[in-house]
Amino acid sequence: MSASADPAASDNRELVTFRVGEQDYCVDIMAIREIRGWTPATVLPHSPGYVLGVINLRGSVVPIVDLAARLGLPPAVPTPRHVIVIAVVGEQMVGLLVDAVSDILSVNDASIQDTPDVMAETTKEFVEGVISVDSRMLRLIALGPVLPPPATKALA
């Protein structure tokens, strides 16, 4: 037992797993600020289809991304059962609309496999790696590319 007595092994990460469409995804827990229920968003004009709009998060204006649409799955139809995962990437805060949050897992870095080469651009861009847990496959999301393009790209 002494080998596993050190839980703070540096290459362990905690992941929050959630369902989008019929698939399991996860992100690093350190990137997540909070999880909240769906509230209707204010529509942003001229925004990409996967941006549902912006919501008020205690005084901050946070854009909401429909993760399903972003990943190329059929767009979600938000219901009160949907969940918004608020994530922070760098300076940017974004809310990800997912079907449900399932679990928090602790996994070893070594157990994260490279994304299988499936010849799909979306997959390559958004999925950082995959993890096999109880015969399920968890897809680790690369948060950076999922975000809407930053302000610098916007033209007036």
Partner: protein, 686 residues
């Protein structure tokens, strides 16, 4: 110690500002002794403070500078353009040195030495060597560097008495602050032979007398062996509370009628307004008492006020939903609350508002440097320096303005020969102005150069693939190409501009502030950049409207009038345009719902409300909305931080029900709605 040090650097900023002010005044109005003295005192105080902190490099340089100013003061040095030019450079360098010491970076020693040599050369020229006060000793840290007492205008070397005339007019504030002229006069009496006479000219008759005002003025004559500086020192604590003039009187004191002791002349201590006499004095600039506050505290306060305004909106909505009549106590209390929060907000905002003067002074330096590098002689004229703008806006204007000014010197102005050939004065003029206009701040940078070379701009845009070769562009559209990313007119990248930032960066920086930048140019006459900015980044008065089921906010400042159009006032124009006639002028209608993609274009404006908006260029548009809900103050929340710029949207706000509403940018909305070659091309790219 660190605290004192920080205070010293803050004071240095103020002193440097005074220094530049003084130089500008000397340059503009000639060398009035008062101004030269002020400049001298500024440099001197920096030196003294620097010495206390052992900032040797700073002290050494300030000392050289001071020597030159002292020579100017004693009229041993004639003030020419060259001298002023050098003084400007020296003041620039002095501020560099201060900044270097503050940030702990290495100052540029070469520049120090070079400038110091030139400064020394200035005084040593007309004055026989040896008499240069520099012999008073390079300051050594242990003496605290207060050498200047040893560089007086002569009297110490030869303790011969000189006569000074002093004119002293206290303001009411002097008495409010607990000062008493009698003490000042007593101190003066200790310095030498003093005669005092009181001037009661402005004293009104008893029925018109306001006991809280100050009506008296004194003229004094002092025969002393002390320097003029020492006299000023006596009045140090009432500086700004009185108008004071000290001059060297060559004549021996004329016989002054016998004056009673000054004590009898002290008016009753009296607060109140300044005397009319004081107001008439041009130099009567009496700074009020101020406190230094940590900016963080102010920012937190502003955020809290923002929350307060939102909270008030929430409460108002709750009360409205509860269906209470407007005559209940709670409604009355709420109204009171609304007024109070607005007032609080206004005052808090005014804390952040600062005059653009320091920014303009900084730009003066940029222009000087640019003119040195480019070899073009440039004069910068600044107008409206006292215009107050939010501090953040000022800070974030530095880079865009620098860029525009460098461009103006580098590309806008022609070389002197070309200018003379065109019949213009060889020296180019750049005018930097600031003014408040309809709730916004308008900053203009105008040069009198050659104007935009439109054929060349067009050619470059085509080469760079920004526009198709057959594009038909109006003059204004061609000018706007300058703001396109990847556009840079200079074929050769010069040291001056062309540092890898284009005008597009200027544009996005201004837009990030909720502002707009425009450009006007006349061939041979010059180019004007105009930047229009919101007064504050925190709150605005908005009209809450409904557009295709979405709540949106239109800034009140842009709205000229609102109307419900009569059917016969609306006219279709060609394929898909509509105009409304407003008192016999036709104003294009822009449907906000269509612009933002919430509904398909329609020609039926019968049940719409039109908001007539006016742009900075005096263009008028009618924005069509479904209905107007309310007019209220909204807190501005940026979209940029988490998302990015949305075309036509200035920012977002939080409504009483916690939902987000978008604040539209009327001008951008209107411009976007206009299909032009350049717009559609840019749209395709997005």
């Amino acid at each position: 110690m660190a605290d004192i040090r920080a205070t010293f650097f803050q004071e240095c900023e103020e002193l440097l500002e005074q220094l530049r002010d003084g130089l500008e005044q000397i340059e503009g109005e000639g060398d009035c002794l008062e101004t030269v003295n002020a400049v001298f005192r500024a440099v001197h105080s920096i030196k003294g403070g620097g010495a206390a902190f052992g900032l040797d490099a700073l002290v050494r340089f300030a000392h050289q500078f001071e020597t030159v100013l002292d020579a100017m003061r004693a009229e041993r040095l004639t003030i020419t353009d060259d001298v002023i030019g050098l003084c400007y450079r020296a003041s620039d360098h002095l501020s560099d040195l201060v900044a270097a010491e503050r940030d702990g970076t290495e100052p540029a020693h070469d520049t120090s030495e070079d400038l110091a040599k030139r400064l020394v050369a200035l005084v040593e020229g007309p004055v026989p060597p040896g008499t240069v006060p520099e012999t008073a000793g390079t300051p050594t840290p242990e003496t605290f560097g207060f050498v200047p007492l040893a560089i007086p205008i002569g009297p110490t070397a030869d303790p011969q008495d000189t006569t000074f005339g002093i004119e002293f007019t206290p303001t009411a504030a002097l008495f409010t602050n607990g000062n008493d002229p009698v003490h000042l006069f007593r101190t003066l009496r200790e310095m030498g032979d003093l005669s005092v006479s009181v001037d009661t000219v402005s004293m009104p008759t008893l029925d018109a007398l306001d006991p809280h005002n100050s009506y008296l003025a004194w003229s004094l004559r002092l025969v002393t062996s002390e320097s003029e500086h020492a006299i000023h020192d006596v009045f140090e604590f009432v500086e700004g509370l009185c108008s004071l003039r000290v001059w060297l009187d060559a004549e021996p004191a004329p016989t002054v009628p016998d004056m009673p002791a000054p004590a009898e002349h002290v008016p009753p201590s009296d607060p109140g307004a300044a005397s009319p006499r004081e107001a008439a004095k041009p130099a009567g600039q009496s700074p009020k008492a101020t406190v230094r506050v940590d900016l963080d505290l102010v920012d937190r306060l502003i955020n809290l006020v923002g929350e307060l305004v939102i909270n008030q909106a929430v409460l108002a909505q709750c009360v409205a939903e509860a269906g209470l009549s407007t005559h209940t106590d709670i409604s009355a209390g709420l109204d009171e609350f609304k007024n109070l929060s607005r007032e609080v907000q206004e005052y808090v905002m005014s804390i952040r508002a600062q005059p653009v003067k320091p920014l303009f002074q900084r730009m003066g330096r940029i222009v000087r440097e640019a003119s040195d590098i480019s070899g073009k002689s440039v004069r910068l004229v600044t107008v409206g320096e006292t215009t107050e703008v939010d501090k953040t806006v000022i800070e974030r204007l530095v880079d865009p303005l620098t860029h525009i000014l460098r461009n103006a010197v580098d590309h806008g102005l022609e070389v002197p020969e070309t200018r003379e050939a065109a019949g213009k004065p060889p020296q180019g003029t750049i005018t930097l102005s600031a003014a408040h206009r309809s709730g916004r701040v308008l900053i203009e940078i105008a040069d009198d150069g050659a104007g935009i070379n439109r054929p060349k701009v067009r050619e470059i845009a085509i080469t760079k693939g920004l526009i198709p070769p057959d594009a038909v562009l109006s003059e204004a559209e061609t000018d706007k190409l300058l703001f396109q990313p990847g556009f840079s007119t200079n074929a050769v990248v010069t040291d001056l501009s062309g540092r890898g930032v284009g005008m597009d960066v200027v544009k996005s920086a201004i837009q990030a502030l909720g502002g707009r930048v425009g450009i006007q140019s006349a061939p041979g006459k010059g180019t004007t950049f105009s930047i229009s900015l919101p007064l504050t980044l925190a709150v605005l008065d908005g009209m809450v409207v409904d557009v295709a089921g979405q709540t949106m906010v239109v800034p009140i400042t842009a709205i000229v009038e609102t109307m419900r159009p009569r059917l016969e006032d609306i006219h279709a124009l060609a394929g898909d345009g509509s105009v409304v006639s407003v008192r016999d002028t036709f104003v294009p209608i822009v449907d906000l719902g269509t612009v933002f993609g919430h509904r398909h274009p329609s020609k039926d404006f019968s049940d719409r409300v039109l908001l007539l908006v006016e742009t900075d260029q005096n263009d008028r548009w009618a924005l069509a909305v479904d209905s107007i809900h309310d007019q209220r103050q909204v807190v501005i929340k940026g979209l940029e931080a988490n998302y990015g710029h949305v075309p036509g949207v200035a920012a977002a706000t939080i409504l009483g029900d916690g939902k987000i509403a978008l604040i539209i940018d009327p001008e951008e909305t209107a411009v976007r709605a206009r299909p032009t070659a350049i717009q559609s091309f840019v749209l395709d790219e997005v």
